[in-house]
Amino acid sequence: MSRLKEWFKNKARMNRWEDEFHDEDNKITIPLSKKLDENIENLELLFKDCGDFVRRKFPVGINKEINVFIGYIDLMIDRRIIEESLLEQLIVQVRSVPPQTDKIKTSIYEFIRDGGLATADIKEVETLDEAVLAVLSGDTILIIDGYAKVIVVATKGWPNRGIQELDSEVVIRGPKEGFSEALRMNTVLIRRRIRDTKLKVKQMQIGTRSRTDIAIMYIDDIVRKDILKDLEERLNSFKIDSVIDSSYIEQLIEEDWRSPFPQIQATQRPDRAASAILEGRIAIIVDNTPFVLLVPSTINNFFQSAEDYYDRWTIISFTRIIRFIAAFFAAGVPGFYIALTDYHPSMIPTPLTMAIAASREQVPFPTVVEVVLMELAFELLREAGTRLPGPIGSTIGIVGGLIIGQAAVEAKIVSPVVVIIVAVTAISSFAIPDNSLTVGFRIVKYLIIAFSSVLGLYGFLLGVLTILIHLVSLKSFNIPFLYPYVSSGLSGYDDLKDSIFRFPLFMMKKRPIFSREDQRVRLRFNNKKEE
């Protein structure tokens, strides 16, 4: 019994992150003191064994009467700012132009804050926690003896890879730059596209240890307040120790974790994020990752490519139809083939039946085994190909796809028709613009194969029904996932103009359902006759 109690006690302790200096959310509880030495002592304690912490205590004033302390993390700062705007001002300039010390003695803090720092971006904090957090995020702290306040000078300047060309979501026409790992740079990329004060950037931090910066971007008078509130509630509904990538946030705030389909869209394209924000959606930008989340997302968003709006509407409408067919193929072709050949060969025209039968003549396996075997072989190739560096990856493709496929057919392990089926499925799955949606269809393909192999065409239908039922019950921030193909009455059928067909730009005068109801108009012509 006592053991059990101990276990529970341990368990309770394990669930909490507090120690003598930190509270349950890993925030530092030590107060700031007026005495500089006490503060330094506390900081030394907190930064014990942190080799990257740079600190210096030095006196200022002609007679060196006031002690000042600065601290920062090495290489996370811009050394130039610290040296030119901070240290030079404090150490050299202040000494060379002596103010009457007795005059300013009582207001030395204000004197330094207002006159001693040659940089615009400073702020004051009053807790040690905020000060330490500022240091850890690349700012420099300045503590003056006699004051329980800390001046934080923005000196962020760590190395990053800058704005580079995209490697996924590639377009032929349109901007080529992509998001990078720095949060501020990403917000800039969006801000450059929307020069409106109503574009809000709300910042918060998630992660009790990682303290990751997260920015929510939206246009204040277009975004739907209910969705914004919902999003904020969801973001505040959990505590996690760290957020390494935006997918952490995605998985924690999505509606249905069982679903193989993504309910939140991730993009690397600033133009895409900007246009989503202009449609009333909300972008969640997470520091340290180039993937920006867009909520709410419906299946339609996953079928749109950024390029859809840059090219002519005719060709885009055509490719949209191709994409939908591709999605259906990616999920359904193997199952349909099994259902037809195993259960209803009479549905296939006779010459083709003969051809299929002839090609399967010496194959020892039933069709299901054949198809699943080839599908798994293909998944294997795909997995091997992604992990390998570029040149070897393409070799794998050739060896796997051509040589093994050819050999398997010649050795009568699989029939050539199955190779065609698997190849069509694979190519179709690559024609879906969004990778996370592709993954969904890849998974449900096996469900349909299972149903079809047991119940033929009826089973195929049941498989499709299962997926449809799942899809219709999905929601993204209370908007039906299959919108606008279902419940399109919600916004007067206007959203159908950007679904299977993309209407010419001048016809899409209204924003989609993500926007507030009184802010739907996005295009109007000055000359009424043009309409």
Binding site: H344, I348, L455, L457, L461, L465, I469, V472, S473, S487
Partner: protein, 367 residues
Amino acid sequence: MFTKNDKISIRQVEVLLILDLYSKAILFLPRNAAEIANQDGWICLIGATILALFYGYIITRLVKRFPNDTFVEFSSKILSKPVGIFLSILLIIKLTVTVSFELRTFGEVVKQVLLPKTPIEIIISSMLLMACYLVRKGFEARARLGEILFFIVLIPIIAVYILLLPNVDFENIQPILTTPLPKILKGSYNLSLDYVSIELILLVGPLLNNHKKLGRASFNAILFVGILNVISAVIALGVFGVIGTKTQVWPVMVLMGLVEIPGAFIERQEILIMTFWILSVFSFISASIYFISLIITRITKSADQNFLVLPLVPFIYIISLLPNNIVQTSDWILFMRDYFRFLFLFPIPLILLLVARLRKLGEPIEK
């Protein structure tokens, strides 16, 4: 975890109603019509549609008086609680038996056309479980699925009708109006009972977000399905002739097989059309199960509907396997039709409406 809103729009009601009405009778209706009135069967169908519109009118008037109640509550309010609960239980039994026999017929059709070697138990139980899966997702999901199925089911079928038009020999349906009027009226009444899904409107009240247009929606849906049924009867009679239509078990299914789509890849397309029919039957079965569980929830005043769904499965499954064969099934369906279907279509709603008016219950309909 997050908020859920279970209301559906009036357009979704319309779509669901069309699917449920359509699937109920489409395979047999031309044969039944021909049996009653030979080449004038399609006139009976017109009469049946008019009668169905009338039933729909009474029922929607009743539902609009009690926008936040299902049948269970407003029948209790109007005719005292014991009577209301008795009627609700009667409705449960009726719906259960109807859905069971519908399921059995469905199983037989699928077995005969698609899966001759598969035991019927597997076909029936898989369909039942699939319907339960949908029911557990809530009525809103059902409405959205209906919107998708609507296009998948009806576009191919209308296309087939258009393609069949050249085959229709209008001499087969002449001479018109040789059947005596009483026989046509009797036939209209009999056929109107196939529009039994109208009674589901009795239960749909609290699920709607706007009641004002309910009458219009049910009118549109019944008219739409009525026209489709008349067209399919005309085509069946025109293609097969009277005797041909009478001898076909499923005339519409055979019709589908006659279509020659130019350059079509797939042969025996009636199997393909069959799959579309399966989808609409699925819609009807899931609707029935949903409403059975809804009535039970309302009677017992329990908060959660989902846990009631799976216990229904064995009942429906066993009842559906009671008849020995397809002939017995259709005999029992006929028996049900003659004695039970009419009750909730017309007399009970009418009595309820009249009593409600006399007792001035519910919201009067604003002009």
